[in-house]
């Protein structure tokens, strides 16, 4: 029976399945009981003792604002479905030019729920700025003349799962979503079968499986390559049971949408985790509404699992290929068919009559109109390269942790649609132990003849890094008897350890990340009226000359910002009655982009006036500030 409440795809309740309807409350109650009544096997927050839960984060941000009233202001930009605030902290000396009229850097983190470390990095950057304002000239100059907008935790609902007793490692928010489109929402979440408090993986001996044990590291798995004579012997799933009996394991977990797949550039239409449509989520809308209303944002920096700073875009403007955790993608691949079950042929049945043909059908041909850009414009590349080089120099990061391919990612929106230089970095790196590093780098065939020519996988680099850094981030495979799969092993990378650094790494990186943020703010365009001149031609006719200069490093608009018309042209306006203008430049002139490092643009007006008149000359650069000068006719 349909009811209004249960029909929507966005609704959490279940449609038309009496079995599940009775099942869900029982299970959630059981969970609740488990959580409430039983001791957790071990204190799981131990791994990240200094990470901030939502309440702790809120207290910390409020503390910043309270302790630094002229430098830091906290604002909620919206509430999540879970009722948590999406905090924005504005950092900048509030005396002097209004913050909204200064060029600013937006720093945002923790779009993916599991990337809580990036949120800690954002907090450490805020701390760096506030702590060093009084003593560090560069920081002081930055906060006096520019500003920062911080979104330290865009996805607080997702992040909070890190602080729950059961470590799921989910990257989404909490919006209910029918991931496999079977008419039931959130009905097949993973379970912690072996009660170690973690959702890890199951590897199952399976002659038709696609995976085999990695010969370089018995903990790890690789995809068998039949062309090399390898055969798969395992299938890999997320840990848990097939709650809805559809043959897939854990294909419809609680939530949701990955906020960093929910923005408008290269949006992954109709894919898992991307949400119902672009900007469908409260979190993405809160961030967008904020940046759209603050066009003084002149650069974007995201801390997250995408990178264009450790590796700059190549000469074609393309990003380096992202390497992620194979074990996780193997498990995820087991779900890829879940949304396709039940497609039947529409042709074999008894039709009572034919439909027409032709008529309105479109004839495919070439062309198709202008397409949106997907690579960094050639004219902008040098800026990217310079800034990337500086980033690596300042931070020393060479090996990124697990990355994902940006589709619908916020930082890509920042450049391709918002039109400003936009960066993403995890903010930390895998620093391999010396010996392993040598081994990984050699990449040559084993000298003893026994080795394969396989390059170490990303998983191997991650495992080696954990070993070297003494991080207990891999749950050893342990036998388990699964109710439907039989003998399996449960283990794999721990969900949060796999993608987050220990606090010691963040603390060590804090000054470097802080210094880079300050560096970025000092690069922004800085537009001023460098020179004015008045020439009296007699008879009340005057010539006014002016030169507008960009003293910053970045241009007033990226080349793509001009192409995409997303950065307003810089406006130069002479404060006179239109009728007093005799010739020359228009009363209101615009120019598209002015390079930095002291590049100038000249203007000249012939006007009618009288001696002693004071005329205001104004230049407004959306990404480079405002300057006003008064010229006097004499």
């Amino acid at each position: 029976m349909h009811t209004q409440a249960s029909l929507s795809r966005l609704d959490s309740s279940d449609r038309r399945d009496p079995r599940l309807i009775s099942w869900i409350p029982v299970v959630s109650m059981t969970f609740a009981l488990l959580l409430g009544a039983f001791a957790i096997p071990k204190d799981l927050s131990q791994e990240f003792p200094d990470y901030h839960s939502y309440d702790e984060l809120t207290a910390k941000l409020k503390g910043f604002a309270k302790a630094n009233p002229t430098l830091a202001r906290l604002q909620s930009t919206g509430k999540t479905l879970g009722g948590r605030d999406i905090w924005m902290m504005e950092i900048g000396n509030s005396t002097g030019t209004p913050i909204g009229d200064r060029p600013a850097v937006l720093i945002a983190a923790n779009f993916e729920g599991n990337q809580v470390g990036t949120s800690e990095i954002a907090l450490s950057t805020i701390s760096y700025l506030l702590d060093n304002y009084a003593t560090n000239d560069a920081v002081k100059k930055s906060l006096d003349n520019q500003a920062f907008y911080f979104f330290p935790r865009v996805n607080p609902d997702g992040a909070e799962k890190m602080f729950a007793p059961l470590q799921t490692g989910t990257s989404t928010n909490s919006s209910p979503y029918d991931d496999d489109n079977d008419g039931r929402t959130d009905e097949d979440a993973p379970e912690d079968l072996n009660k170690d408090g973690l959702i890890t993986l199951m590897r199952v001996p399976d002659p038709s499986g696609l995976y085999m044990v990695d010969p370089l590291d018995a903990r790890l798995m690789k995809k068998a390559d039949p062309k090399k004579g390898e055969s798969g012997t395992y299938s890999i799933y997320w840990e848990g049971t097939d709650n809805d009996g559809d043959g897939f394991y854990n294909e419809d977990a609680v939530g949701g949408t990955d906020i960093n797949r929910n923005f408008q550039h290269e949006y992954p239409y109709y894919q898992r985790g991307a949400g119902l449509h672009m900007v469908s989520e409260r979190e993405s809308r809160a961030v967008l509404d904020f940046v759209i209303a603050r066009r003084n944002i002149a650069a974007v920096l995201v801390y997250g699992p995408n990178d264009n700073l450790i590796s700059a875009p190549n000469s074609k403007g393309e990003l380096a290929k992202a390497e992620g955790i194979n074990l996780f993608s193997f498990a995820e691949a087991s779900l890829s068919e879940a949304g396709k079950v039940g497609m039947f042929s529409t042709q074999t049945q008894q039709f009572f009559g034919g439909g027409g043909g032709g008529g309105g059908s479109a004839s495919p041909s070439g062309g198709g109109g202008r397409r949106p850009a997907t690579t960094v414009a050639t004219a902008d590349l040098d800026y990217y390269t310079t800034i990337s080089k500086k980033y690596v120099e300042l931070t020393g990061i060479k090996n990124a942790p697990a990355l994902s391919t940006p589709v619908g990612a916020f930082f890509q929106y920042g450049y391709f649609q918002y039109g400003v230089p936009s960066f993403s970095t995890p903010g930390w790196g895998l620093t391999p132990a010396a010996a392993d590093s040598a081994k990984s780098d050699s990449g040559s065939k084993g000298k003893d003849g026994s080795g394969s020519d396989d390059k170490p996988s990303f998983d191997k680099k991650l495992a080696d890094w954990m070993d070297g850094a003494g991080i207990d981030g891999f749950a050893a495979w342990k036998a388990f008897t699964h109710p439907t799969l039989g003998s399996v092993e449960i283990g794999g990378f721990k969900p949060y350890e796999a993608v987050n650094p220990p606090m010691s790494v963040i603390t060590e990186m804090a000054p470097k990340n802080g210094e880079f943020a300050v560096y970025l703010s000092t690069l922004l365009a800085d537009v001023n009226i460098a020179k004015t001149e008045v020439i009296n031609h007699g008879g009340g006719v005057y010539r006014i000359k002016a030169e507008v200069e960009n003293a910053g490093f970045l241009p007033t608009s990226t080349s793509h910002g001009v192409t995409s018309r997303s950065v307003k042209p810089t406006m130069v306006q002479l404060g006179i009655d239109p009728e007093a203008l005799l010739s020359g430049s228009a009363k209101t002139s615009f120019f598209q982009a002015l390079d930095g490092s002291g590049t100038r643009q000249k203007f000249e007006w012939l006007i009618k006036g009288k001696k002693g008149d004071e005329i205001e000359l104004k230049v407004v650069a959306q990404k480079g500030g405002t300057d006003i000068k008064t010229v006097r006719l004499q």
Binding site: H2, Q4, L7, S8, L10, R15, R16, D178, N181, G183, D242, D246, G247, Q264, Y269, Y270, L276, M278, V279, L288, G339, V341, G342, M343, F344, T348, Q349, Q350, F351, F352, G353, G355, G356, G357, G359, G360, S361, A362, S363, P364, S365, G367, G369, R370, R371, P372, F416, Q417, S564, R565, P569, M571, Q573, D577, P578, L581, K587, T588, F590, V620
Partner: protein, 590 residues
């Protein structure tokens, strides 16, 4: 004896009835049937008048109609809707629904009158026409006469003759100010006139020798006496430019989430899909009403029955969907003279992020958009058509318009050029055509336009899917094991789920459910042809008591499902479809 008395009684009753209904019979000698409510469809309604008529209808037919609001426009006006539902034939959300909207572009007004007419016609003819009665009983209608109330009101009460936009402020000229230099009605005639200036020997236009109301471009090498200076307006903000930042400045029909593109690819798209309060309100409504199986969005003009895709790079629709669209669209061409059935990008222009692309791709709803009124309809006299094609006459096209205005609209649609002293342009003349012509039919032709377009939309509504399930055939094949065959039918043209909707997981799958206290399903499969024994195509799903049919049931098709069931007693087989309705049947295993 008994029979006789019955007959007698019948005769008496009939005579009595004839007497009682005498006045009615007299009235119905005229062509116009007895109406419960009289409304005019040869006039244009501003926003307030639309609401008045909607409320009036809702109170006239309260058992069927509900008047409600989906949300508010930026200007604070309600986006109002009439729901047509007969509660006696089932709850609203369990019946397939037809969604009808109009006027997303502020200046494309006549779809609102078509919407009003549709509500009125369905109600007036319920119980009179068997077809209309069945439609109202089988379907639900959601009708929103204007989804851009601010744009509509601006069209009527201000100078917004050509304004497609809504009224969310946009800084069109990048000066940091919003809507500070709108068009101005300088001579107060309620029209945004054209401005022309007399510049003897320096212009590029001259007065036509055939009709001095008309300007014609001068031939190459000659000089004219006139220049055109655009539309009526002032430099309100003193920046030296006229009318560079009026209300809004975007296209409300480019703010939808399928193939949405940023402004530099698709002008007027805003910053992200559903940023506009009107688009968001409508989308929230559509998402929470998955029973909607048909969409019609009325625009003007050109005489088109449009379908997606809006852009070539979206590729072609799946073959199955094209066949359905083609059949409906071609029927529409027969019902609507002067209208062509057209694919948006190839027949009109490219649209990214348009409404019907989203409803088709993102929500899996068969969607049309009719461009109401074809300018050719002014000129259905062959002589006038011939006159218009005179290649030697530069004003041949215009002459037809003047002819129509002079002889059929008695000069009401044209304002003569009159002198005006313009603060920026000096001495000029203002004049030109009324905003009520060109894209909008003459009032006296609007009832026909409304009726024909309604007829097409009702045809689409009638061809939305409608599921039926037939009586199962039970056959014992072993101890406790039965073969159960059931025919499942959809006799309409549209499938329960479009192929595109299924590919995009845009619609919850249809469900085929078998339940019984003591029934275990051993297998289930589709019978290729029940009259010709052949292999049964077994369904490879884990839960055969709840079979998912992701791409739904095709149109005009009967499928036979074959179960092997172990058990005894009664079983129920149900087919549940969000867009095709829910049906069920029972059988006994014996």
């Amino acid at each position: 004896m008994k029979r006789f008395s019955t007959l007698l009684f019948a005769w008496t009753a009939l005579a009595l009835l004839a007497t009682l209904s005498a006045p009615v019979a007299t009235a119905q000698k005229a062509s116009d049937p007895q109406h419960k409510l009289r409304l005019d469809f040869n006039r244009w309604h501003d926003y307030g008048e639309l609401q008045q008529d909607m409320k009036l209808m809702a109170s006239t037919w309260p058992e069927f109609l509900t008047y409600s609001s989906l949300g508010k426009s930026y200007g604070g006006r309600d986006i109002t809707m009439i729901t047509i539902n007969n509660p006696k034939t089932g709850p609203e959300l369990e019946k397939p629904a037809m969604y009808i909207e109009a006027n997303v572009h502020g200046n494309e007004i006549q779809g609102s009158e078509v919407s009003l007419y549709t509500i009125w016609y369905l109600m007036e003819n319920y119980g009179k026409s068997e077809m209309i009665t069945r439609l109202v009983d089988e379907r639900v209608f959601y009708i929103i006469p204007t989804v851009n109330p601010d744009g509509r009101q601006y069209f009527f009460e201000d100078t917004g003759g050509g304004a497609r936009t809504g009224h969310v402020p946009v800084d069109d000229d990048n000066d940091g100010l919003y809507e500070e230099d709108p068009p101005n009605d300088l001579n107060g005639n309620g029209i945004r006139d054209q401005i022309r200036k007399y510049v003897p020997g320096e212009g590029n236009y001259r007065l036509s020798r055939e009709d001095d109301r008309m300007l014609e471009p001068v031939p190459a090498g000659e000089k004219g006496d006139w220049v055109l200076l655009g539309s009526e307006g002032l430099d309100d903000d003193g920046d030296g430019r006229v009318d560079e930042d009026g209300p809004g400045g975007y296209d409300p029909n480019r703010n939808w989430a399928s193939d949405w593109q940023p402004n530099y690819i698709q002008g007027g798209s805003m910053d992200y899909p559903f940023q506009l309060p009107t688009a968001r309100a409508v989308n929230d409504f559509l998402i929470s009403h998955p029973n909607i199986a048909g969409v019609q969005s009325y625009h003007n003009s050109g005489g088109m029955i449009l379908r997606g895709p809006g852009a070539e790079w979206q590729g072609v629709y799946p073959r199955e969907d094209v066949a359905v669209y083609d059949e409906l669209g071609k029927e529409g061409e027969r019902m609507l003279p002067y209208y062509d059935y057209i694919v948006l990008w190839s027949g009109l222009y490219t649209v990214h992020g348009g409404f019907i692309d989203w409803t088709n791709d993102g929500l899996g709803i068969l969607s049309f958009s009719n461009e109401l009124w074809n300018g050719g309809q002014y000129f259905n006299s062959p002589k006038l058509q011939e006159q218009q094609r005179d290649e030697d006459n530069p004003i041949a096209g215009q002459q037809g318009s003047y002819y129509f205005d002079d002889y059929l609209e008695f000069g009401t649609q044209y304002s003569e050029w009159t002198a005006f002293d313009h603060p920026t342009f000096g001495k000029v003349e203002l004049g030109g055509w009324s905003k009520m012509r060109g894209r909008i039919p003459p009032r006296f032709m609007n009832e026909e336009l409304s009726h024909r377009n309604m007829a097409f939309t009702l045809y689409q509504a009638d061809q939305m899917p409608k599921m039926q399930i037939h009586k199962p055939v039970v056959e014992k094949v072993a101890d406790d094991v039965y073969r159960v065959r059931v025919d499942i039918e959809n006799d309409r043209i549209a499938p329960t789920i479009t192929q595109r909707g299924a590919e995009n997981n845009a619609v919850d799958p249809d469900l085929l459910m078998l339940s019984g206290r003591n029934a275990e399903v051993i297998s289930a499969g589709w019978v290729a042809n029940k009259f010709r024994p052949d292999a049964t195509d077994l369904i490879d799903q884990h839960d055969l008591k709840r079979i998912m049919i992701r791409n739904g049931h095709p149109g005009r098709t009967t499928r036979t499902i074959e179960y092997l069931v172990r058990g005894s007693g009664d079983i129920t087989i149900a087919y549940e479809s969000l867009k095709g309705g829910d049906v069920k049947t029972t059988a006994t295993l014996k």
